[in-house]
Amino acid sequence: MSQRKSFAVGTGLFIVLGFASLAYLATQTSSIANSHQGAAYRVDAQFANIGQLKERAPVKVAGVRIGQVQSIALAPGKDVADVTLSIDKQYSQIPVDSVATIYTSGLLGDQYVGIQFGGAKTYVADGGHFGLTKSTQPLEEMLSKFIGGGGAADAIGGTYAVKANFTNVGTLSVGAPVKMAGVAIGSVASIKADPVKLDATVTFDIDKRYNQIPDDSAAAIFTSGLIGSQYVAIQPGGSPNSLKDGDQLVLTQSAMQLEDLIGKFLVSGSSGGSNNASGNGSSNTPTGKH
């Protein structure tokens, strides 16, 4: 009899554990974790292009989640999207002249609505409206403003070494290609931190065939493609003297963070979520300047 009882207890424990796991998966690791919400009020905003924004996408202020997108509809009679935001009651002090912008969380993340506070002393109420909005901009559009390159380094017949200092090398790694006009002419030999100037000293091995490079050329760290590896691009200067072994390039442009870049252009980037990363189908080779 006690044997029977231990079966029952063990099996009961097993079932409870199983359902606990299910509850954990469903509530803690899925979008339900984001959707529990207390009392909320609604605010409208109209966007010219909502990109990949979806219902239930978060609404954030300064990166903190304050609500979610409740509905997305085409505004009647206009070619703009009518987005209703459901914002938690405890965040009721949002100035009426705040700007609603569609952002992408990280390079591969989903889109969300970010709100930058304005300076007005009156606050939006239930059923209110954000007059100032910034729409999403297709990434291709933004990236087509930059130039890029591609190809592989292939050093034969000896190399010579050139140095350059960068304030930030980003994710540049040893072995990365060095390119001029998009053609690989060498590779990165070493990356070291300079103990005095506190920046990065990068040594390139450049193929001996390319010995006519002006010594006032600039070196910049670029990224090949949206999610490709980084490389060093040499932009030739106008000096009559050529680079020699052991020379240093003075003009450099460091790797830039995506956030800096976006901040610089005051536009919001757009990409699909990780679920459908190829959704935008970029057929050219877009290059972001990082």
Partner: protein
């Protein structure tokens, strides 16, 4: 000519097995009302196939999650996308690895023991003895084990997934230094309860559980009542279950997505 006829024999035998298996499923399902009298037996089988598989499922889940976290981190690092490791980890576990690996482990751990047990019951006339004691062996032996497998698999799969997420968390966040908040927020932002957890984990693993239990019970029930026959049936359970899981996985993925 003889090799051709042998090949035809194999085809016909395989078709015959599948057909017999399908008919057996109908007998099991038809016996469900009668097996309600044997709820205690179903609970006992739930203990044997479910609770007893818990250790292997949880340990394997932990390691699968850890190795997946490690691999995903290094691949995503190439693209500077390590922040997506939580998303990639959870989605690959929920949609594929969780149900499939749990299914394969379940076939190896519980399926074989069910086949061997029923096969031995047949070899030692226990099945015939039940018939003689006016106890329907389908309702008493086959259906409880089938139902237990059907119930246990989704539960085991949930535990496997939870351990997998935990293992991935340990590696990517605790060890490789992905930001804790990023890991979880990216995961919660991209995992959908219906699409990924109910469809991906629950339905899929329930279907796998049904197929594995059916094959295991069928092989045990129809085995030749000798020790050689039982050994052969056990092997066939693993082979047939593995093929069925992977084939069904493709069909279900195409169907549920």
């Amino acid at each position: 000519m003889s090799s051709q006829s042998r090949r035809e024999n194999v085809v016909i035998q395989t078709l015959g097995q599948i057909g017999a298996c399908g008919l057996f499923l109908l007998r099991i399902l038809a016996a469900i009302p009668r097996s309600m009298r044997h709820v205690r037996e179903t609970v006992r089988q739930l203990w044997f196939v479910g609770a007893m598989s818990l250790t292997i499922i949880m340990v394997c889940g932990l390691f699968v999650g850890m190795v997946l976290g490690l691999q995903l981190y290094h691949v995503l690092a190439i693209f500077g996308g390590t922040s997506a490791s939580g998303t990639a980890l959870s989605l690959s576990i929920y949609r594929e690895l969780g149900p499939v690996v749990t299914g394969l482990l379940f076939a190896g751990r519980a399926g074989t023991s069910v086949t061997a047990e029923i096969g031995l019951m047949r070899a030692t006339d226990q099945i015939a003895a039940m018939e003689m004691m006016a106890v329907d062996p389908i309702a008493y032996v086959a259906t409880p084990r089938f139902l237990a497998g059907l119930i246990a698999m989704p539960l085991l799969c949930c535990m496997f997934c939870a351990m997998g997420i935990f293992g991935g968390y340990l590696v990517t966040v605790d060890w490789l230094g992905v930001d804790n908040g990023t890991f979880w927020s990216n995961m919660t932002a991209n995992v959908d309860v219906w699409q990924d957890i109910i469809n991906g984990v629950i339905w899929k693993s329930a279907a796998f559980g049904a197929v594995i239990s059916l094959i295991a019970v069928f092989q045990g029930y129809t085995t030749a009542p000798t020790s050689e026959g039982v050994a052969y049936a056990t092997t066939r359970t693993v082979v047939a279950s593995s093929i069925a899981i992977l084939a069904l996985d493709f069909v279900l993925t195409a169907f549920l997505m």
